[in-house]
């Protein structure tokens, strides 16, 4: 936006011509005479994804409407009515007796304020802003924040992972008692697993949190997730964890081990689930962190084991197998220079016979190929059928019950360090924090089916 000149944010084509003709810009109060009716209100910016044929006016009733530019006869300028944005900052209180938590921002909006005119969400991020939005945080900890990036979670990549790992390492060494990472939810589990591999033996909790309903909504899960994350960051479990809603009800959060967690629903609040194991703990304001198991890594003081290995190869990919997959697909992947392939195979870890030759050829070319299962739950077991034995003979390495996304992150991380086949294999098969488990608890696979009488009773007693 420039001063002196009229701003026409988001307008193009016919509507832009019209605004230029009448010398009108956004935030101008205008009176429009059109064949569809006469309207008075404030000209709003237009969403750039919307068409170029309408202008948007905020009526005094607070409602917005679009008026077709071609039907507008005249626009009268009545004045200017610009929205003012500013989040009131309140100093985040410091209390010596409380733990010091460091919050990194990556671009998700865990707390925000709304621009009522455009509907845009303005993130609240500084400690002062966060205190204004979620004052409960001050009851839990002292807070420092640093905004590392401002990107959507799907745009996270190696550069961000490495920067994040380095910053976390630095702040823990500077004395932070816990780390929170505000993160978009789409790839939160990818970041959680790569941080588990990059930051080894952390002495304090590293907690990722975000929201499924943006924080500008009264029903948002953001504040509760942030408060739970702060409790987890001051808690006893020193691992990389995801902290998000347990049920969709406002009841408690779950702490998920970073290598075993996955986003399982595109929009539900309770979207994050631990797969093939049970979650680490529940967390809420009343009871704090309540571990569900004892084999977690406890909080300690920084020691020599605490280190970072911030490596990443971007020549790794996930191949989601489907019936009738053609061998030229794999050939082109290899020819494009990929060095590592994580296959999400069917059933116990299978792909079709016509691919065997190309797999053998790819491994001969030096490509590292690992097998996971697209069933997500359960182990790869390639000894059961001949086909599996043949594939292993070709050089495919089964990855037990490692989740495909976790395997992708781990292979990228491993190939960032070495290309030696045996060394990579050793890195892949040696669990760092639960990405491969020795055994599968019987209650680690629970996908309740609605409609069953016993599930009905359960839902009435415990809520969704």
């Amino acid at each position: 936006m420039t001063t002196g000149e009229k701003s026409t944010t988001g307008y193009r084509g016919v509507s832009l011509e019209l605004l230029t003709k009448f010398n009108i810009g956004v935030w101008d109060r205008i009176k429009v005479e059109s064949e569809s009716g006469d309207y008075e209100g404030v000209l709003l910016p237009r969403n750039s994804m919307a068409d170029s044929l309408h202008i948007v006016i905020k009526l005094d009733s607070g409602y917005n409407i679009g008026v077709k530019a071609a039907r507008i006869k005249s626009i009268e300028y009545l004045g200017r009515q610009e929205g003012h944005y500013g989040i009131r900052e309140q100093e985040f209180p410091y209390d010596e007796s409380k733990p010091n938590i460091f919050l990194f921002g990556t671009g998700g909006t865990i707390a925000s304020r709304l621009d009522y005119s455009t509907g845009a969400v303005i993130p609240a991020f500084s400690p002062g802003e966060l205190f204004g939005a979620v004052p409960e945080l001050a009851d839990i900890c002292n807070l420092k924040t640093k905004k590392l990036f401002g990107i959507f979670s799907e745009d996270m990549g190696p550069e961000q992972y490495i920067t994040l790992a380095e910053n976390i390492y630095k702040e823990i060494n500077n004395g932070a008692d816990g780390i929170i990472i505000g993160h978009g939810t789409d790839t939160m589990h990818h970041t959680a697993s790569i941080l588990t591999f990059m930051i080894q033996n952390p002495p304090v909790p590293i907690v990722l949190a975000g929201s499924q309903r943006s924080s500008d909504r009264p029903s948002s899960d953001a504040a509760r997730n942030l408060i739970n994350a702060a409790i987890a960051a001051t808690g006893p479990i020193a691992e990389v964890m995801v902290c998000m809603f347990g049920p969709t009800s406002d009841q408690y959060g779950l702490l998920h081990r970073g290598t075993r967690v996955r986003k399982m629903h595109s929009s539900y609040r309770s979207t994050f689930r631990t797969l093939g194991d049970i979650p680490l703990a529940t967390v809420d304001v009343q009871k704090g962190v309540n571990p569900l198991r004892s084999d977690y890594r406890p909080r300690s003081t920084p020691n020599e084991e605490f280190k970072i290995i911030p490596t990443f190869s971007d020549k790794v990919m996930i191949l989601y197998y489907y019936p009738n997959m053609q061998e030229n697909l794999i050939r082109s992947i290899v020819e494009a220079g990929y060095e590592g392939i994580v296959i999400a195979g069917t059933g116990l870890g299978h792909i079709n016979r016509p691919l065997y030759n190309v797999i053998r050829w790819a491994i001969g070319k030096g490509v590292h190929i690992y097998m996971t299962v697209q069933t997500l739950w359960g182990f790869v077991q390639m000894f059961v059928y001949d086909n599996g034995r043949y594939l292993m003979d070709c050089g495919i390495v089964p990855l037990a019950n490692m989740l495909p996304e976790t395997a992708y992150m781990k292979l990228a991380w491993a190939l960032g360090q070495t290309r030696d086949r045996e060394e990579v294999k050793k890195l892949m098969l040696t669990p760092i924090n639960g990405e491969i488990t020795e055994r599968e608890r019987p209650d680690s696979y629970l996908v309740l089916q609605g409609g069953l009488p016993e599930v009905k009773d359960f839902l009435l007693d415990y809520m969704l």
């Binding site: 009716g37 304020r113 929009s267």
Partner: protein
């Protein structure tokens, strides 16, 4: 002034103004933003979900007053989930699906009925509601038409907007900090028709609301029945404030509600003047509070003892200079202290009434003189100060004290802008929440703008039905009596009535068929389904041609219903062929029947009835009457 002794001039004198918002469910198959079926059910819930609402910062980084109020209530909101009526959208666990185009079309047609301009592009907005009645915390709403009007008393009542929006949940229970909502009603499409505040008496408010509802119903596109239509009534008087009485489900309640709201505002303005006379202003308004649990620990009759036993506390507040104001009448049987109690009930969730004690009721609540005076003394209360005592869980009592102080301070300025709901007596209203600020609307980023094509509007304009006021003129010109007109204005068969009236040349007969006989056949389960429009038109033709007479109409209709006859078949069966000779012999027989009736009028009625029964409408009554009188002479 009582409602029934006031006239429009009295209301003009106090500057009475009223505007109406009428909400009515649209008759669509599915909900507005998802594909759930519409319809309320009484089945037990399949699951429950617990949520809380958190106020969001407004544009200026402030909280909306309503939002803050709802935060103070700390409500645990439980939604009863019905698997066959709601999906993850209503639970706020999925984004909206594209808007229901059937609802948009109905919206356009209704907006055209109200003479609106139709917007070129509809934008979905979010209107914040933090009471939990909508799980998202906001209602999705969009304006479809603007600048409409309806004619009323030789003037035009402006309809600035006609909106389409989603309905909220049904409240099942609301006790203490727990509120339970049922979700079946949630997201049913509604039309919202808004008038300007141009109605100048309760009677006008009533009549215009009726007219709005009539117009909606004429469309045949809205749902009817209990709860399908609800009104918000905005009332203010000169010097007062806009107060919204929400969710009035019967139009007949509007005159009393608006009248008593005007009275309440007048009383609050009088209270304001008295406070001013006492020299109390914002700058010197003062109060003090204290814990009084110990003071009342030895009073066995004290009504708050149970709360204290359960771990609660008793607190007292003294408002400087407010003595005697608590007992000022606001409604005929309600005093200012009741206004305060309403706030405490809603915001502090102390909902076991009575929830406050003051000078007038403290004896009956078991607070003896000595304790009362002790408490007042501990707060340095002087003669001119008012005291209020409240009890309950500590946190709630603290909220209550705050609210009492706030409500008394508001009295300095007169009428606080509030949303209220109808009291049980259907005349007064109770506090529901503070009136939301203007900034609670913001664009919905989940739904793209909806272009409304001009051709679409024009094609819908062609099928706009004639309007209630025009229908009334038409029927008046036909000479129909008012009671039939009232029924026919919104009758779904109005158009077929018009054609029957034209074909038969007898509007009154046609009106009788559509209004009276249809009702009769419905009530007695005759299955009016066989009365197709085509059959009705043929029947009108036959009636016009004199094939049968008024008297046999109902029997013919019954035969059509029961036996699925065509009109001619029914007439053939019902109406006997009677020759002139047969008629004369029947009538001669009738007048010889012995009876005791001496009164000539009664006697004639008896003879007519007997003749009609035997002739079953084969002969018009007029002819029978002529013949009977000729025979007797």
């Amino acid at each position: 002034m009582s409602l029934w002794k006031t006239n429009d001039i009295d209301y003009a004198g106090i500057g009475f103004r009223c505007g109406i918002e009428i909400h009515q469910q649209l008759d669509t198959k599915q909900k507005l933003f998802c594909h759930c079926p519409v319809g309320l059910v009484d089945d037990p819930p399949d699951a429950r979900v617990l949520r809380h609402m958190r106020p969001t910062l407004s544009e200026m980084g402030e909280y909306d007053p309503t939002a803050l109020m709802e935060k103070k209530t700390r409500k645990e909101i439980i939604y009863e989930i019905l698997n066959n009526r709601v999906c993850t959208y209503e639970l706020d666990d999925s984004p909206p699906f594209p808007i229901n185009q059937q609802a948009v079309e109905i919206g356009i047609r209704l907006a055209l009925l109200f003479q609106c301009n139709i917007v070129d592009e509809a934008h979905i907005s979010r209107k914040q509601y933090l009471d939990g009645s909508i799980p998202t915390g906001f209602q999705r709403t969009t304006v479809i038409g603007t600048d409409g009007w309806i004619p009323y008393k030789y003037r035009r009542i402006k309809i600035p907007q006609v909106n389409i929006e989603e309905d909220s949940c049904r409240e099942v229970d609301n006790v203490g900090h727990n509120v339970i909502f049922r979700t079946d009603r949630l997201s049913i499409p509604l039309v919202e028709v808004i008038t300007d505040a141009e109605l100048y008496s309760p009677q006008e408010a009533f009549e215009v609301t009726w007219l709005l509802a009539e117009t909606n119903r004429i469309s045949g596109l809205v749902r009817r029945g209990i709860g399908a239509a609800r009104q918000d009534v905005n009332v203010s008087i000169a010097g007062g404030s806009r107060v919204e009485i929400k969710g009035v489900d019967k139009i007949s309640h509007i005159p009393a509600l608006t009248h008593f709201e005007a009275l309440r505002q007048k009383a609050l303005l009088n209270l304001r003047d008295e406070i001013k006379e006492r020299g109390i202003s914002d700058s010197n308004y003062a109060y003090s509070t204290t814990d009084a649990t110990a003071n009342l620990a030895r009073s066995p009759e004290f009504v708050g003892n149970q709360a204290v036993e359960q771990g609660g506390v008793v607190s007292a507040i003294v408002i400087k200079g407010f003595r005697g104001l608590m007992e000022k009448y606001i409604f005929p049987e309600r005093i200012f202290a009741d206004e305060i109690a309403g706030r405490v009930r809603v915001i502090a969730c102390l909902d076991k009434m009575p929830n406050i004690a003051h000078r007038m009721n403290r004896m009956s609540l078991g607070i003896p003189d000595k304790e009362w005076e002790d408490i007042r003394r501990s707060l340095d209360a002087e003669d001119g100060d008012a005291t209020i005592i409240t009890w309950g869980p500590r946190q709630d009592v603290n909220t209550a004290l705050e609210e009492i102080a706030i409500r008394c301070r508001e009295a300095i300025h007169g009428v606080p802008p509030e949303t209220r709901n109808m009291a049980l007596n259907e005349r007064y209203s109770d506090f529901e929440r503070l009136l939301p600020g203007p900034d609670r609307m913001y664009p919905d980023t989940d739904h793209p703008p909806i272009e409304i094509d001009i051709e679409r509007v024009e094609s819908l304009r062609e099928i706009v039905p004639d309007l209630p006021w025009d229908r009334r003129v038409t029927m008046k010109e036909m000479g129909l009596p008012d009671y039939l007109i009232d029924h026919l204005v919104t009758n779904p068969r109005y158009r077929i009535f018009l054609r029957m009236a034209g074909i038969s040349g007898n509007p009154k007969w046609a009106a009788q068929v559509i209004v009276e006989y249809f009702t009769y056949l419905h009530r007695r389960d005759f299955g009016a389904i066989n009365l197709s429009d085509d059959r009705l038109l043929i029947l009108a033709q036959l009636f016009g041609d004199g094939i049968f007479h008024r008297e046999s109409t109902l029997d013919i209709l019954k035969a059509i219903c029961v036996k699925d006859y065509d009109p001619q078949e029914a007439i053939d069966e019902i109406v006997p062929a009677v020759s002139e000779e047969q008629l004369d012999s029947i009538l001669s027989e009738i007048i010889t029947i012995e009876n005791q009736l001496r009164d000539p009028e009664k006697r004639e009625r008896f003879l007519m009835g007997e003749a009609m029964r035997r002739l079953r409408g084969a002969i018009p009554g007029k002819l029978i009457r002529e013949k009977l009188s000729a025979l007797q002479d």
